[in-house]
């Protein structure tokens, strides 16, 4: 019964019921503002209960205030069938075998009438239906592991993915693509770097900043780039594949531990911090930027380490932070804390006693920098030395998010303080680098003539 009135509630629902008009029913509505004709559409649950949504003949949607309605008649009924043609992926002899794991997110989403927003709902098969060019790149098989928004990805999903990847590698796959929402794409990339070690094939995480229901979506190009990287690329690492520039030109392959989403809406939002991306990718192929990377191998010697301790937190330091925050975390049973400290890795004196108490209780506390670029250095100032004396351990230039994921993964394996520190400080794939190249930090500012010249001529 409720399905007849999708999303309607309160007054609007009463009105529909009163006049016996269903969602997807064609209606003639008389109101104090005149007569309206059209098809009743579902209403987003978060919108008010004062209006009915109508699709008029010209294809536009309008809302009618139920308070103005004096009469209403259903004159027909036609339910919309929103479905992308789901096609089986064609097999081409001699092309690499690539597996695409669907997890949800904008790259695979469509309209949801319930919330009025986009929801993850395209099956990877449907995805092929809208990007047939994929068939020219590889033989693709798909599997929907789960359908959640990026922000709902968590330890359970990391572990499930790592295990699924391990199986695929064992079965001889040539490359793996993971379609993922962008918001926490870099968290998952870091998690898979730690959980899937020494992979013989590329593992490429991909998303899109504009959903595939838009003509200017970056989804199709990102998918094609990731298929090239996974099927044909020589870089056998966990990588993020997203737009290089904001233009439809080329993609970057970022190392899973050094990448971060840096803009809430730009297409070129993912950047490698403190280093260069590993490579660029176009439909023609992968072009390495870095000289050193893990090459594709024939063997299947991958190590799957699917562990995670959920009681880990990240603390973004701010002036006047009160010690009770740390006490509260300890009281709640947190076993590890990553601090994103100021400058070279600092917090203020009043929290010292709380940190000391926490460490004495066995909580593992590590220091990263909220400047994102640069190294933690706790020797330069006394404050840093004091913190180290308390037992706060510096993590060099590990990004706070990469550190948070790593601590969860580490504490999933051991609680031994020495071992935890050793694992945390031993780089698996560049989450800590020994040096920062000069071109690892490039945040140029507009207004400078030389920069403006560069932007006009090169930054598309």
């Amino acid at each position: 019964m409720k399905d007849l009135f999708q999303g309607y509630k309160g007054k609007a629902l009463e009105t529909l019921k009163k006049y016996n008009v269903r969602v997807w029913g064609k209606a003639n509505i008389k109101t104090t503002r005149g007569t309206f004709n059209g098809t009743i559409l579902p209403r987003s649950e978060n919108d008010d209960d004062q209006h009915i949504v109508l699709k008029i003949e010209t294809g536009y949607n309008i809302g009618i205030n139920v308070g103005t309605i004096s009469d209403m008649k259903e004159t027909g009924y036609k339910k919309a069938n929103y479905k992308v043609p789901e096609k089986e992926f064609p097999y081409t002899e001699g092309q690499p075998q690539v597996k695409l794991f669907g997890t949800g997110g904008t790259i695979a989403s469509r309209l949801d009438y319930r919330t009025g927003a986009v929801i993850p709902a395209f099956s990877p098969g449907e995805l092929y239906g809208s990007v047939p060019e994929l068939a020219d790149i590889c033989n693709l098989s798909t599997e929907k592991v789960f359908a959640v928004f990026s922000e709902n990805m968590g330890p359970k999903q990391y572990i499930a993915l790592a295990i699924a990847i391990g199986k695929e590698i064992e079965n001889g796959i040539d490359g793996i693509i993971i379609a993922h929402g962008t918001d926490t794409l870099h968290h998952t990339a870091a998690a898979l770097t730690y959980m899937v070690q020494n992979p013989p094939v590329p593992i490429v995480l991909v998303g899109s900043q504009r959903s595939s229901d838009r003509p200017s979506s970056d989804a199709a190009l990102n998918l094609m780039h990731s298929a090239v990287a996974a099927g044909h690329g020589d870089i056998a690492e966990v990588m993020v594949c997203m737009f290089g520039p904001t233009s439809d030109e080329y993609g970057f392959l970022h190392r899973g531990t050094r990448v971060r989403k840096m803009h809430s809406s730009y297409r070129s939002t993912f950047r490698t911090l403190g280093d260069t991306p590993i490579a660029t990718v176009t439909q023609k192929g992968v072009k390495p930027i870095k000289k050193v990377y893990n090459h594709r191998r024939k063997d299947r010697n991958v190590k799957i380490l699917p562990y995670f301790e959920e009681k880990v937190s990240i603390l973004y330091y701010y002036p006047n932070m009160q010690p009770d925050i740390i006490d509260a975390l300890v009281a709640c049973g947190y076993k590890g804390i990553i601090i994103a400290g100021t400058g070279l890795g600092h917090v203020n004196k009043p929290v010292y006693p709380a940190l000391k108490k926490a460490i004495e209780k066995g909580v593992h506390i590590f220091m990263t920098v909220q400047t994102l670029w640069g190294y933690v250095n706790m020797f330069v100032y006394d404050t840093g030395r004091d913190l180290m004396a308390l037992g706060v351990v510096p993590l060099d230039n590990m990004l706070p998010e990469a550190a948070y994921i790593k601590l969860g993964w580490t504490l999933g394996q051991t609680n031994d303080r020495q071992k935890v520190i050793e694992i945390m400080q031993t780089s698996i794939n560049d989450e800590i680098t020994k040096r920062e190249p000069y071109n690892g930090y490039l945040v140029y500012q507009g207004g400078v003539p030389e920069v403006e010249q560069f932007v006009k001529n090169f930054r598309k």
Partner: protein
């Protein structure tokens, strides 16, 4: 069939068979006979400070070269809300265009290039658009829903236009009939095109996102003149609010035309209303011609039977002298000949003045296959570009019959493939009648192919924005501040005996409220005042450049001054040019510059006796009327601003005659 086929003769003959006539010779009955039917989509920019969905300034424009950055995009078709792909969308995808946007930091932000979601709709623009909706007698919606309307030509970087319906089912009152309005929407304006060459198209983003309204009439306009009247009416109505932009490109019309048995064809972006009659006239006859072509071909074939042949040509085998063909070797382009069975006489069939059916094909090749013009040679061209020998050789390769026609096309391999598909598709369409399409208007009143006409299948709710409720209180406040309806203005102008030739100027410049206020406040003669504006002021506007300090309140202030100083309003035509050029000057100084002095009638007629004497000395005739005229001429200047000239004349006549 004669072996000496004369394409020129065929063109003239088919023009006659179609029954094409000049517009001036075409009577309403003729339009009724061929079923002329048309409607309008009138686009009008709103006058607001900021754009519709971001806070960039509205109405600031740049030269083509003035840009700070470029963004490149490609558009892919996306599904509509109801789960279909739009025909145009798929066609545009075929064209594989690189769309390059020029961005100037002053007028475009990350929203315009689709790197930031929309901000809340500009309330100023919404208010303006609702006022106009109310004036159009539309049923105002209870809640505004932003919808995405797909455009894959690249004119909007998102690939869709954000647009929303504000009202439906309205009407306007023309001189002889009531015309229904389907709807009025508020939308963001698109980019301005800089160039379109082969696979690249450039746009600038200054106009992109400016608030715009679109008023859509029902297809109820039955002659080209009626169509123009409706366009003019809607323009006056929009301008009567004083809330819209004027000037180049601020108002544009899309004209939908069809004939009996034809299809809806949309002539896009008509910049001047005066072009509408000729464009719609030619379009309805173009459709009539296409139906004639269908009849000719149907007499020869069933749609399923008709099949064309094509083959690649080797330059070495022929003696072409046409440069574009010779260039193909260097460019590694393909040359392909196409045989069109039974199509003799079709290629050179009349479609529009100066255009034949082959041009329809050529224009599609340019737009869809991205092959630049000239892109086609054929067997029915007026001039012989390919020798008879070469054509004979091509015909023999196809074993073509005498009733066939041939094309030669050339271009990059991929584009040629698309081109062959397009040609086949277009010839098959002949059997179905007139293809739905949008066409670009040319200044000579003809049109060229622009795109396949999009359907309702390209609409999608905008998931980035929430619905906006419109309360009764809000609508009532807007309603309270509306100008009178435009048809009432037109009938008042008639009542005032305003010269008919000045109605357009007064309504389109929205001078009506100015004139009305002057008449009502100062009790001047309506005919005099409206004539001053319709003639003198119009002349001034055409003559001088407007100053930024000038505004309509100053016009009213001038008449206020005349009234207050108890001057005669016949001085206004002398003061207006000064005011227009020096809007900051005070009125007293203006009078001084005219050497004006206050004089009574007695003072003015005092020198008449003296002047009569003077005229006797210099007279060339004895006619007393000449004397009166001469004396009037002598007194005219002093009288202006003091008395009615006809009163002075009476006094002069009394003394002279």
């Amino acid at each position: 069939m004669s072996s000496k086929f004369d394409p020129q003769k065929n063109y003239q003959q088919t023009k006659k068979q179609v029954g094409y006539m000049e517009r001036q010779q075409t009577a309403p009955e003729d339009y009724r006979r061929i079923g002329f039917m048309s409607g309008l989509e009138v686009h009008q920019q709103l006058d607001t400070k900021e754009k519709l969905f971001c806070h960039c300034p509205s109405g600031v424009f740049h030269r083509n070269e003035a840009y700070n950055a470029e963004v490149i995009r490609h558009m892919r078709p996306a599904m509509s809300e109801l789960g279909g792909y739009d025909g145009t969308a798929l066609m545009e995808f075929k064209t594989r265009k690189n769309i390059i946007y020029h961005i100037n930091n002053e007028t475009a932000c990350t929203y315009e290039v689709d790197d930031t979601p929309p901000f809340k709709i500009n309330p100023e623009a919404l208010g303006h658009a609702l006022k106009i909706s109310l004036l159009c007698n539309l049923n105002i919606v209870g809640e505004v829903h932003i919808t995405r309307k797909q455009y894959l030509d690249g004119s909007i970087p998102t690939g869709f236009q954000r647009t929303a319906i504000l009202g439906v089912n309205g009407h306007i009152q023309l001189s002889n009939k009531k015309v229904n309005l389907i709807q009025l929407s508020i939308e963001e304006d698109s980019c301005r095109e800089i160039a379109d060459i082969a696979h690249n198209r450039w746009y600038k983003t200054d106009r992109l996102g400016m608030p715009l309204i679109e008023t859509v009439t029902a297809p109820e306009l039955m002659t080209p003149n009626e169509l123009k009247e409706a366009a003019e009416y809607i323009r006056y109505l929009n301008r009567s609010t004083g809330l819209v932009r004027t000037g180049m490109g601020a108002g544009r019309e899309d004209v939908n035309v069809s004939c009996k048995g034809g299809s809806r064809v949309e002539i896009k972006g008509v910049a001047h209303n005066k072009w509408i009659p000729e464009l719609s006239h030619n379009e309805v006859f173009r459709q009539w011609a296409l139906l004639h072509i269908r009849q000719l071909l149907k007499e020869r074939f069933q749609k399923e039977e008709w099949k064309m042949q094509f083959q690649q040509l080797d330059l070495l085998e022929y003696h072409f002298s046409y440069q574009p063909l010779l260039d193909c070797r260097k460019k590694e382009h393909q040359i392909v000949a196409i045989n069109l069975p039974g199509c003799k006489g079709i290629l050179s069939h009349f479609t529009q003045p100066g255009q034949m059916f082959a041009d329809e094909i050529s224009q599609r090749l340019k737009v869809i296959a991205c092959i630049e013009l000239p892109n086609l040679l054929h067997s029915e061209q007026f001039e012989n570009i390919v020798s008879k020998n070469d054509f004979d050789k091509i015909r023999s390769k196809f074993k073509a019959s005498e009733t066939d026609a041939q094309f030669i096309i050339w271009g990059a391999v991929n584009d040629i493939q698309t081109a062959i598909e397009i040609i086949e598709e277009r010839f098959k369409m002949i059997f179905d009648g007139v293809p739905n399409e949008t066409r670009k208007s040319l200044a000579n009143g003809t049109t060229i192919f622009e795109r396949v006409l999009p359907g309702a299948d390209r609409m999608y709710p905008d998931t980035d924005s929430a619905p906006i409720p419109l309360s009764d209180e809000y609508i009532n406040t807007l309603q309270a501040n509306l100008p009178e309806e435009t048809y009432k203005r037109i009938s008042l102008l008639k009542e005032w005996e305003t010269p008919i030739d000045s109605h357009t100027f007064i309504l389109s410049k929205n001078l009506f409220p100015v004139i009305q206020e002057i008449i009502e406040r100062f009790q001047y003669n309506p005919k005099r005042i409206s004539t001053i504006f319709g003639h003198t002021y119009k002349h001034i506007v055409g003559q001088y450049k407007v100053r930024s300090e000038f505004n309509y309140r100053k016009l009213i202030a001038l008449f206020h001054f005349i009234h207050e100083q108890e001057l005669h309003p016949n001085i206004a035509p002398y003061l207006l040019p000064i005011l227009y050029q020096h809007p900051s000057m005070d009125f007293a100084s203006m009078l001084t510059s005219l050497k004006f002095k206050k004089r009574s009638m007695t003072e003015l007629i005092a020198p008449i006796d003296f002047l009569i004497e003077k005229f006797r000395e210099i007279r060339k005739t004895d006619d007393p009327k000449d004397a009166a005229n001469w004396i009037m001429g002598q007194l005219h200047h002093q009288a202006i601003g003091n008395i009615e000239l006809s009163d002075l004349r009476k006094n002069v006549d009394k003394r002279v005659l």
